[in-house]
């Protein structure tokens, strides 16, 4: 990631996302180095879709991905913990009621 050691003249790193079939979302498959985006797509095809694992490929240079910091995980994600009223089971309805 950011604190890379001695990379002389490396091709940039790309993250690869593959849609396995139409109707499904693209999912992160892995990463690879390429000189540019079109080479990244060609390389991704060769390494990640050799057995028909995909019908569509996205690539994005890794440096463009902003990520949340694990150290702020509590601040970010814990507040959702006590919001039970966001779930359907919070609301008490008689069982004989149908389709709701």
């Amino acid at each position: 990631m950011s604190n890379k050691t001695k990379a002389n003249n490396e091709w940039p790193l790309f993250e690869v996302f593959i849609r396995s079939k139409n109707g499904l979302e693209h999912r992160h498959a892995g990463s690879l180095h390429a000189a540019d985006a079109s080479m990244a797509i060609e390389n991704a095809r060769d390494v990640y879709t050799r057995r028909q694992e995909g019908v569509s490929i996205w690539v994005v240079e890794s440096k463009h991905i902003a990520a949340s910091n694990p150290e702020s995980s509590e601040a970010l994600f814990d507040p959702a913990e006590d919001k039970v009223y966001r779930h359907p089971t919070f609301y008490e309805l008689p069982i004989e009621l149908k389709h709701i």
């Binding site: 990631m1 604190n3 890379k4 050691t5 001695k6 990379a7 002389n8 003249n9 490396e10 091709w11 790193l13 892995g30 990463s31 690879l32 180095h33 000189a35 540019d36 080479m39 060769d46 390494v47 050799r50 057995r51 990520a67 910091n69 694990p70 150290e71």
Partner: protein
């Protein structure tokens, strides 16, 4: 100091709970270093491992065999890539890993320092070497470092064809002429012991095992994995009708395992130290590939820069 101690305890608690560690999570420096070493060595093994098999692609005995072997070797390149990427998430660059391989600072599996002398060796490698790798890799799909475990899941899905490809070659040779069967036996003779060595030193000689188990990098010890390999493989050799070159190999009813003979650890350490039959040849081949590919890497970068510039100009106009 106090603080580090606290962080380490919390880290261990997460591991004990079976949580996975992800790249940006806090981790002890030794955990990071151990992983960089282990994952990059694993990656190097995949890459160097292409060389002994690549040796036979142009001489495969049929088109069926050729496409199978070619696809397998291509898979191994992919495995190397998955693993290099996993190691890169820990803050080491691809170039530095390459340099560590070429300068001998990083090791790779010593099995790939043995030559492939006959076509049967391709069968033996798929059957035994990929077989041994699978046992290790299946364990590693549950390793504690997320990117490593995910790479292993992907790799394991691809490996089983490798082993079946190899065993089919052995089976065909063993059902063939006397000379062909002898060729299969000879390959087994040469690859059996080095395959057992693939699991690494005996538990009592591998001081890092305890820490690796504690961090759930490994979930089984070298000796446990080796025993599993012998138990699985011995009946497969029987089925082929060829003999594993170990007079002490015998089913032990009481233990529920095969007993087997002593491994020549002196040979193992000699090969690790660089004195195996093909160590120099392997590194020379990797060095040539790196040096002769230099102009390609540079040209691709220059082309990409020019293309980017052209786009910028177009947008400005």
């Amino acid at each position: 100091m106090e603080n580090i101690h606290y962080l380490e305890e919390q880290f261990q608690a997460r591991i004990d709970k079976g949580e996975r560690i992800e790249p940006r999570d806090w981790m002890p420096e030794k955990y990071r270093k151990t992983h960089i070493r282990q994952i990059s060595q694993h990656a190097h093994s995949e890459i160097v491992g292409m060389l002994p098999e690549g040796n036979w692609i142009t001489r495969a005995p049929s088109l069926r065999r050729k496409v199978g072997l070619l696809a397998k070797v291509q898979d191994e390149a992919g495995h190397g890539l998955y693993l290099y990427s996993a190691a890169e998430t820990l803050g080491i660059s691809r170039d530095e890993m390459t340099m560590q391989l070429l300068t001998g600072k990083a090791k790779y599996s010593s099995i790939f320092n043995y030559p492939t002398l006959s076509w049967a060796d391709i069968g033996a490698i798929g059957w035994l070497v990929d077989g041994a790798a699978i046992i290790n890799q299946v364990m590693l799909t549950r390793t504690s470092y997320g990117p490593y475990a995910r790479a292993m899941v992907r790799i394991c899905k691809e490996e089983s064809f490798h082993q079946r490809q190899g065993y089919e070659i052995m089976l065909t040779l063993c059902k063939g002429s006397e000379a062909q069967k002898a060729m299969a036996q000879d390959a087994l003779n040469r690859f059996w012991w080095p395959s057992l060595m693939m699991f690494g030193p005996r538990d009592e000689d591998s001081p890092n095992t305890a820490q690796s188990v504690k961090w759930k990098i490994k979930r089984q010890t070298n000796d446990e994995l080796r025993q599993r390999f012998v138990d699985i493989t011995a009946p497969q050799a029987d089925y082929l009708g060829i003999t594993i070159p170990d007079p002490d190999l015998k089913w032990n009813e009481e233990r529920g395992h095969y007993d087997f003979g002593k491994i020549d650890w002196e040979e193992f350490w000699q090969v690790v130290k660089g004195n195996g039959p093909c160590n120099k040849e392997r590194i020379a081949a990797r060095t040539d590939a790196w040096e002769e590919g230099k102009w390609v890497r540079e040209a691709a970068l220059a082309y990409a820069a020019k293309q980017a510039q052209a786009v910028e100009v177009k947008q400005a106009v």
